[in-house]
């Protein structure tokens, strides 16, 4: 019998995602996919399938149980509080959930999205080649909708997971930047130099009215030179769109493929994860970079991801002296985080 991942509790914003539904953008089909693709990849790489699916959860958190068998899970995201029964685990870790056990993932000091990738595959249908949920159009994931308490995700083709919890080390995880880098455009000529200067000098507060579709920014009003309606054109992940009310909207994973407002700038790929992990109430700032600088950052991140994740044993207070001794003998550096 295969094991089933049971959702015991789910806050709003939990869904099944994979790297996204690509190849249908010209038919109006949004790719969806993870809000923080880097954190998602840390989880799926650790779970042994970079192309696999996982559960994305948000500030509302998630509680899970395994039924009918044990389930290996890799967890990574913003700095969430991860507990296996009473035991605190690192925010990025792999662990095994056994029947009778309970895993809880809750928002902690920072971060807005967390990913749980199974050592195995969800027994869900591929929709246009993808498991990604786009709830607005009812596509993908579990019945095209967000996850809720009581849902069951059957795991097939299980892969072996480490017996003891391990910490995931992924150098690109949680890379914080004081300022998010943007490239101006595609429609910066709809704005005066002063307005662009305001975009780049203001502290922007992330609004509570932010979701997978767009992050709304609160701050100074950004006025268009003339008119806010443009003939719709393509819209990229990270595009900063300025609607008629002058309050910037950054288009995120669930954006529409096209948009009808001028896009003053676009957050570069390397910084989309950091933006996604900002929470309502957090402040973000922007700095403009060139295409070359953006690509240099993209290359550095790609090389880092190519090197993959490493797993380290989790040091815990109840470890035996023998274990600690053995660990030092093999030359590992003892991580004091969990002591």
């Amino acid at each position: 019998m295969s094991a089933t991942l049971r959702i015991l509790k789910a806050g709003p914003g939990a869904s099944v995602q994979d790297i996204g539904r690509h190849g249908f953008l010209h038919f109006g089909v949004t790719p969806a996919g993870p809000m923080d693709a880097g954190a998602f990849l840390a989880a799926t790489l650790a779970a042994g399938d970079a192309k696999g699916a996982g559960v994305e959860a948000s500030l509302g958190g998630l509680e899970l149980a395994a039924e009918g068998g044990e389930i290996g899970l890799a967890i990574a995201g913003g700095g969430f509080d991860v507990r296996l029964d009473a035991r605190a685990l690192p925010p990025a870790c792999v662990m095994k959930l056994v029947p009778g056990g309970r895993l809880s993932v809750r928002a902690a000091a920072a971060g807005a999205w967390v990913y749980l990738a199974p050592f195995g595959r969800f027994d869900l249908p591929l929709i246009l080649g993808s498991y990604a949920t786009h709830a607005r159009s009812g596509l993908g994931g579990l019945e095209g909708r967000m996850l809720r308490a009581g849902d069951a995700l059957e795991i097939v083709d299980p892969r072996p997971a480490p017996v003891e919890p391990m910490e995931i080390l992924a150098p690109w995880l949680g890379a914080h930047r004081a300022k998010l880098r943007v490239m101006l455009g595609p429609q910066q000529d709809y704005f005066s130099p002063e307005t662009i200067a305001t975009l780049l000098s203001a502290r922007w507060r992330l609004s509570e009215r932010s979701d997978r579709m767009a992050y709304r920014l609160e701050g100074p009003n950004l006025q268009h030179l003339s008119g806010h309606d443009i003939v719709s054109d393509g819209a990229a992940f990270g595009a900063i769109q300025i609607p008629g009310d002058g309050a910037p909207l950054v288009l995120m994973a669930d954006r529409q493929p096209t948009g009808g407002y001028p896009k003053i700038a676009t957050v570069i790929g390397a910084d989309l994860g950091a933006l996604a992990q900002a929470r309502p109430g957090d402040f973000v700032e922007f700095e403009a970079v060139s295409w070359e600088q953006a690509v240099t950052a993209r290359r550095a991140r790609a090389l880092s991801i190519e090197a993959g994740v490493t797993l380290e044993p989790v040091l815990r207070t109840e470890f035996s002296a023998e274990f600690l001794l053995g660990r030092n003998l093999v030359g590992g550096v003892v991580d004091g985080r969990e002591t």
Binding site: F24, R136, D233, G234, A236, R298, R299
Partner: protein, 253 residues
């Protein structure tokens, strides 16, 4: 140089606008115009044909082609260089591959807003239906939601202002007018346009292969059907044979 060759051919050079480091918008104009859209669609077709490594998605819109690409595979300059030779062929290179004959019922019982739209336009509902069915359309682009296909070619007398406030979710297969365009809306969504017809065809049906029918650039005509035919076709397309395509696809040379 490519720009001078474009000028010699009577065409303006497109603008290459970065949308971040991994997307480039090739903008041919700033209005909804069949000639501008033909250049967009010609480049879309040429680029799909060219199969350049690093091109991930192409999204044609009314007046621009959005190219999502991987800059670690193809540099922006290499991409623009390839585009500069492809745009030389201009709008005349655009030719629709197919013409779809889409059944459409204009009966007010199904076409929820046709009476209201006719009043706004100063026409009778029958005249509005006849004019709409006489149009020769082109799929300009998809946008807004999966299978929402925006059509150019609406007879000018049917150009309408947007509704003052959006109407509720469209029925499945809604045929709408708004501004100077028509639209076939696969999935129910609220809209500021008028529902002036309904097709039993499903532009987006996951259980069917292909799931999506009309390609951007395809020609579209509407074939009026009465309500009884609508329900009969809907039963065939929706329940009895889910994989059946109701609209006729005429291959164009």
């Amino acid at each position: 140089m490519a720009p001078s060759r474009l000028r010699a051919a009577g065409m303006s050079a497109p603008r290459y606008l970065d949308a971040g480091e991994a997307a480039l918008s090739v903008e041919f104009g700033d209005s909804v115009d069949p000639q501008i859209n033909a250049r967009v669609l010609a480049l879309d077709a040429a680029l799909r044909e060219a199969k350049l490594a690093g091109i991930e998605e192409l999204v044609p819109t009314y007046r621009a082609l959005m190219i999502h690409y991987e800059p670690l595979t193809i540099l922006r300059d290499e991409l623009v260089k390839a585009l500069e030779s492809l745009v030389l062929q201009g709008a005349s290179a655009f030719a629709p591959k197919a013409r779809w004959h889409v059944p459409c019922c204009y009966d007010p019982a199904l076409a929820e807003d046709i009476v209201e739209a006719a009043r706004v336009l100063g026409l009778t509902p029958e005249r509005l239906a006849a004019l709409h069915a006489s149009g020769s359309y082109r799929a300009y682009m998809y946008g807004f939601a999966p299978g929402w296909c925006y059509l150019g070619g609406l007879p000018p007398s049917l150009a309408s202002p947007r509704r003052a406030s959006p109407r509720g979710p469209t029925p499945p297969g809604a045929v709408l007018i708004g501004g100077g365009l028509s639209l076939i809306a696969a999935n129910p969504m609220p809209t500021g346009w008028y529902v002036i017809g309904r097709t039993p065809e499903r532009l987006f049906a996951l259980e069917r292969e292909p799931a999506l029918l009309i390609e951007p650039g395809d020609a579209v005509r509407f074939e009026p059907i009465d309500a009884a035919t609508f329900f009969a076709l809907e039963a065939r397309g929706g329940i009895i044979a889910k994989r059946e395509v109701l609209a006729k696809r005429e291959v164009l040379a």
